[in-house]
Amino acid sequence: MTDSVSDPSVAEPGRTDAEADATPIPSHVDTSAAPLVDIVGVNKHFGDLHVLQDINLSVSKGEVVVVLGPSGSGKSTLCRTINRLETIDNGRISIDGVPLPEEGRALARLRADVGMVFQSFNLFAHKTIVENVTLGPIKVRGKSNAEARQHAMDLLERVGVANQADKYPAQLSGGQQQRVAIARALAMDPKVMLFDEPTSALDPEMVQEVLDVMVGLAKQGMTMIVVTHEMGFARKAADRVVFMSDGQIVEEDEPDAFFTNPQSTRAQDFLGKILSH
């Protein structure tokens, strides 16, 4: 990453200064250092479908970026390329200055630093809640059982499900399971957290409890990339909104500016649809 940045011959398509200047940067976001997540010129196809088209996105430490866009626009795919659950055709993705390794131990180590929360929770069904949270710290970070359990209980306390620690995932509500999934990701002390529609599989009355946890995380300075259509969250917690359509990043702006005054017609259409109900 460092060598390609200092190499002036490497063009970074689509990364105009004008674009970066358009978004005022909040004071808690550290832009002085290299970006924590740096996505440059990324393309990906599923067969004939060009799902990611020359994507450029950099996220600074402490920044909260909300990604939204119509169904099928490539939001999940983008999210999943950041920890290489999806491979890319070309382009470059680095986390904290380190390009994503192809595979093997180096990739596993990098994934440990990138927390991910899925739409469908994906808790380990045969393990208790606390075991779900301690598995990574014990097996990947080499922590002792006692230490991992202590940290896990603190995290479960923080997301409000400590009293469920010895139950199995199927015994918890969706909202509780998703909060456990957040605790499981946090247990690895990640540098950045990815959320792919964390509330869209939840019953409406459980959405808020999960969003509250996420807002709390954002306030504590966690770097977050969140695919969500929850505008309340975007307004309250996001520093930047990225709007995707048909595999492209069409528009980025501060949440208030984006929601009140979208520039592109695609964003206007999209907002028109989600605001109308």
Binding site: G104, V114, S120, A125, H126, L135, R184
Partner: protein, 227 residues
């Protein structure tokens, strides 16, 4: 009844079933180990391993067990000179060892399929979540996928074990003194006791297989993963 007593004195039926049990247990353990390795190959991301696993299952599963056993006993042992022990070991010991190998290799293909069907009961998302917290391929398998796959595979594995116990009788063809071979001798020497002999041997197998089936069915309920 005198004839019956005479027959029972001449043929050591308990020992014959003890050989059947040894062949079943050791063959099953071998099948479990080989079958698990083959199943892992089939779900691995490495194309050549996938192909090897698929080839193993499809070739071995569609080959008669008798063929495999003859291949081992008359082929590998005699022509290729592969030794499973000292030349001075009794033939019965050697034939048991070769039979264990043939039984294990053959049933491993069914075990692999049972485990793979168990792997398919584990939602893809859990494997992704395991990778996302930084577990490598083997750690994800070991701690997340396989424990659930085995639980999902308990019932089919029970069926494989029952088939395996019955299939051990093929070892009679290479002269191993197990239950079926002993039955052959009993019928030859005491043809008038045919029905009793059949009932006795069949009962022996039922005593082995019926509890196995009940055990595996109740186990599969007990360990089932709640989803």
């Amino acid at each position: 009844m005198g004839k019956f007593g005479q027959m029972m004195a001449q043929f050591d039926l308990l020992h014959a079933f003890w050989v059947t049990i040894q062949l079943s247990v050791l063959g099953a353990l071998g099948a479990l180990v080989i079958g698990t390795v083959v199943a892992i190959m089939r779900v691995s991301p490495v194309r050549s391993l996938q192909l090897f696993g698929a080839g193993y299952v499809n070739i071995i599963r569609n080959t008669p067990l008798t063929l495999l056993l003859f291949f081992c006993w008359f082929g590998l042992r005699i022509s290729s000179g592969i030794q499973l022990g000292l030349p001075s070991d009794p033939t019965q010991v050697l034939s048991l060892r070769w039979a264990i190998i043939a039984v294990a290799v053959y049933h491993a293909s069914f075990v692999a399929e049972a485990i793979r069907s168990g792997v398919n009961t584990v939602p893809q998302g859990q494997a992704e979540a395991a990778r996302a917290i930084g577990l490598g391929f083997f750690d994800s398998l070991r701690h997340v996928v396989l424990p659930q796959a085995f639980r999902g595979a308990v019932a089919p594995l029970g069926n494989v074990l029952i088939a395996l116990i019955k299939n051990t009788t093929v070892a009679a063809t290479i002269g191993l003194y197990e239950a079926a071979y002993t039955m052959k001798g009993m019928i030859e020497f005491y043809p008038q006791l045919l029905y009793v002999t059949f009932a006795l041997i069949a009962l022996g197998f039922i005593i082995l297989t019926l509890p196995t089936g009940i055990f595996f069915t109740s186990m599969s309920r007990k360990v089932a993963v709640q989803r």
